[in-house]
């Protein structure tokens, strides 16, 4: 699956889609594929402060737990409640299934994140053994 060019990516396999001061955050197709069938998503709460590089929740497949790391610092403005009952939406379309929306504290932080092309190379290296 193609990685949207307008998103930015973390080395922990989250994506962030920025529009102005707010942004949506999810996990990458590579991440959902490595995890397998996702059965549980632990969401943050609206109003929570999240910090770049810090854990804001988790996703669990049948066989594993994976922490979610925020790609940016900010305040949670919305969470995708649908994932509580239908976590498999992440497997179906990881780049559409946003997990939280945040108001960014410092949009300049995003410069250090990976581009789609860089992330794709990074993800391939990780599986290329």
């Amino acid at each position: 699956m193609a990685y949207p060019a307008n998103y930015k990516y973390t080395r922990e396999h989250e994506w962030i889609d920025v529009s102005g001061k707010t942004a949506s955050v999810g996990i990458t197709d590579h991440a959902q594929d490595s995890l397998g069938d996702i059965v549980f998503v632990e969401l943050p709460k609206v109003g929570d402060k999240v910090e770049k590089g810090k854990v804001f929740g988790s996703v669990e497949s049948v066989k594993a737990v994976s922490d979610l790391y925020s790609p940016a610092t900010g305040t949670v403005t919305a969470i995708n409640e649908e994932l509580t009952t239908a976590p498999e939406k992440i497997n179906a379309d990881a780049h559409a299934a946003w997990i939280m929306k945040i108001e960014l504290s410092d949009p300049g932080e995003l410069d250090s994140l990976l581009t789609a092309a860089d992330y794709e190379t990074y993800a391939k290296e990780e599986t290329g053994h």
Partner: protein
């Protein structure tokens, strides 16, 4: 990664990779964890049929006039009760009454027995068996690499395999075995055994790559009408967990004894002394084990995982989870755990510490899943 080079491979390794399986290091073996997806594979076995490559399992044969004596000394179940063509679940114990490994004992003839043993403990088990068999007039041989072992499991396993063999599989009862022609291979061992809590068979075919792949492909083609899926170790684990079957290194280990693990019904003290029996008698005489393996169902939202702590409702640590997972067929979050005997009663409420939260769970009867009776 360089580590991959050191991993052992079954004859079907190339096929798994061609099928796009996700591979993992399982006890030093490069094994498929899933192909199409763990849940689909799990459901195929519960509702139709699945095939697993379990060639990493070991096969140790004991032959000679003293073989029954050796088996009786090494294995806790009573092999004297076996008829030719019958198998039994058992375990090999240390003198402390704790586990070397769990095994399936097959009686080939009066002087010929086969132990099927776990992959991760193969070398240790073989050495143990050889050492313990000394003094018995019996020869111990490791045939592990001679066989590709395929598990064909599920309510449609019999119909699938029946199309590939001349043996009347309806006459092979659960935990019995026979030999017959399978996919044109004469004298193939066909056992009605498995590790899924479902009906099914395990077949042992020659371990060359061409034969192994041919048999696999024929089973897949034949099972297509029942929706057969290749199944990985991920589904194997969730299937065995729903059926509450022990996994070495989790529910049973060198520090867990038979009474704690609740495997009493496979341990026959009345047959006479065997390795581990004295220690087990002492535990019994002292009033029984202090901890017991129980089944937990997580009542609140959360998934218990291997190693998580179990607490009482006041927050005091009382035990630990040995295996925990979402149960794909039961659609519940289940776990096996060790708790003090006083808290092992069905219905007891406990908590599992899941990522710093105390999540409520209750003790439930085992097994979590029991296959429906045939009508």
């Amino acid at each position: 990664m360089t580590a991959t080079a050191a991993l052992r491979k079954t004859p079907l390794n190339g096929l798994h990779r061609r099928l796009g399986a996700k591979m993992v290091d399982f006890g030093g073996w490069d094994m498929p964890v899933e192909y199409s997806g763990l849940i689909a594979e799990h459901m195929a076995v519960r509702t139709g049929v699945g095939i697993f490559d379990v060639s990493h399992m070991g096969d140790i044969q004991l032959r000679g006039p003293g073989s029954l004596g050796a088996v009786q000394h090494i294995s806790m179940n009573d092999a004297a009760r076996l008829q030719v063509g019958q198998a039994q679940y058992s375990a090999m114990l240390y003198p402390e009454g704790t586990f070397v490994d769990d095994i399936i004992v097959h009686k080939f003839s009066e002087n010929d027995y086969l132990f099927v043993i776990n992959a991760g403990t193969r070398e240790k088990d073989y050495e143990w068996i050889r050492t313990q068999a000394r003094g018995f007039d019996c020869h111990v041989s490791d045939y592990s690499d001679y066989y590709t072992q395929l598990a064909i499991q599920g309510p449609k396993a019999q119909e699938t395999l029946q199309k590939l063999t001349n043996v009347d599989l309806g006459k092979v009862k659960f935990y019995w075995f026979t030999w017959g022609t399978v996919c044109g291979l004469a004298n193939t061992l066909i056992a009605r055994t498995g590790y899924t809590g479902e009906d099914g068979f395990e077949i042992y075919v020659p371990s060359d790559v061409a034969t192994s792949e041919r048999v696999w492909d024929e089973v897949i083609a034949t099972g297509a009408e029942f929706g057969i899926l290749p199944c990985g170790l991920g589904a194997r684990n969730t299937l065995r967990l729903e059926a509450a079957l022990s996994l070495y290194g989790h529910e049973i280990s060198e520090s867990i004894n038979v009474w704690e693990a609740g495997l009493d019904r496979f341990c026959k003290l009345e047959k006479g002394p065997f390795a581990g029996s004295e220690a087990l008698k002492k535990v019994q005489a002292a009033g029984g084990p202090e901890k017991k393996l129980v089944g937990l169902e997580v009542v609140e939202r959360g998934i218990a995982r291997d190693g998580y702590r179990v607490m009482d409702l006041s927050g005091k640590e009382i035990g630990y989870v040995t295996s925990g997972s979402p149960a794909p067929f039961l659609k519940k979050n289940i776990a096996l755990a060790y708790v003090p005997r006083s808290l092992a009663e069905v219905g007891t409420e406990v908590a599992v510490e899941i990522r710093n939260n105390q999540v409520k769970a209750k003790v439930v009867p085992l097994p979590f899943y029991k296959k429906p009776k045939k009508t």
